[in-house]
């Protein structure tokens, strides 16, 4: 292992990007394409045009914050790319993205579906097995992410030169 190998910037960048991507999967797939729930669909059932519009606004606010998470993740990734002690590992990035997606499912599922009850995965069923499956998918994604991160850590050295390294011309 390299003398000073710092995995944390890459892990946190990938986790934030994964949180953002997980949020977009939820929002795009469940809220928009399948339309099986909306942000406040347990409190305001989307059975009138006004309620559909109100839910759409709150869906949009949720998407805006998800977008911010993704942008912050990209900023952290950019910064990680400029640090000389951060390994440039695709496995660690992919694993941390999966970890972030799983974290999104766990936190959002526990808070919004179970504790606050503002919506459920399949709204017409209420709190159902689908909400349990959502949490289970979160755990599975986190475990998969951890496994990939560990394999990445075990065979990773710092492979990018950092910002102050001399530039090697192509073909040299």
């Amino acid at each position: 292992m390299n003398a000073r190998t710092n995995f944390r910037p890459l892990l946190s960048a990938g986790t934030l990007i994964g949180i953002g991507m997980g949020g977009f999967v939820d929002g795009i797939l469940f809220h928009q394409i399948l339309q099986i729930h909306n942000m406040l669909s347990a409190r305001l059932p989307p059975n009138t045009l006004a309620n559909v519009e109100i839910n759409m606004v709150w869906d949009g606010i949720f998407h805006a914050f998800t977008w911010v998470m993704t942008v912050l993740g990209i900023c952290l990734l950019w910064r990680a790319g400029s640090l000389p002690d951060v390994p440039w590992s695709a496995r660690i990035l992919a694993g941390s993205c999966l970890q972030g997606w799983g974290l999104f499912n766990l936190v959002e599922g526990i808070l919004n579906h179970h504790l606050l009850g503002i919506h459920h995965v399949v709204e017409r069923f209420g709190l159902s097995v689908a909400d349990g499956a959502f949490l289970g998918a979160g755990v599975l994604l986190m475990v998969m992410g951890q496994v990939i991160i560990r394999t990445g850590r075990s065979n990773t050295t710092v492979t990018h030169p950092g910002p102050n390294a001399p530039r090697i011309p192509p073909g040299a």
Binding site: M1, A3, R4, T5, N6, F7, R8, P9, L11, S12, T15, L16, I19, M39, L40, L44, L49, A50, N51, E53, I54, V57, W58, I61, F62, F65, V68, M69, L72, L76, D85, L103, F104, V107, E108, L111, N112, L116, I118, R153
Partner: protein, 96 residues
């Protein structure tokens, strides 16, 4: 080939006109006036139902997961306090 290009060129002006007519038709229906910034009975109802006494609680419910995500990510970035103390006192070989 020349004939094909000529054919496309001839048909092109009709398409924007068709799109314009479609857009005018869509915005002339009552449903298109239901947006939160629309000046229509439904638009006003939507605004009233968003900006009422439930706005703050609804906003809190919607964004509550995100500070938790940021907190977990910050923890991942800086590490636990014991790790930080160790990292400051001795040069680390592997910081995670």
């Amino acid at each position: 080939m020349v004939h094909h290009c000529h054919h496309r060129y001839r048909r092109l002006p009709g398409f924007p006109v068709f799109c314009l007519l479609l857009a005018l038709l869509a915005t002339s229906t009552p449903h298109a006036d239901a947006c939160p910034v629309c000046d229509s009975p439904t638009g006003r109802e939507v605004r009233r139902e968003i900006f009422n006494e439930e706005f703050g609680p609804n906003l809190l419910r919607t964004v509550l997961p995100f500070p938790i995500f940021l907190g977990i990510t910050a923890f991942l970035y800086v590490g636990p306090p014991s790790f930080r103390r160790r990292n400051e006192s001795t040069p680390a070989e592997d910081t995670l």
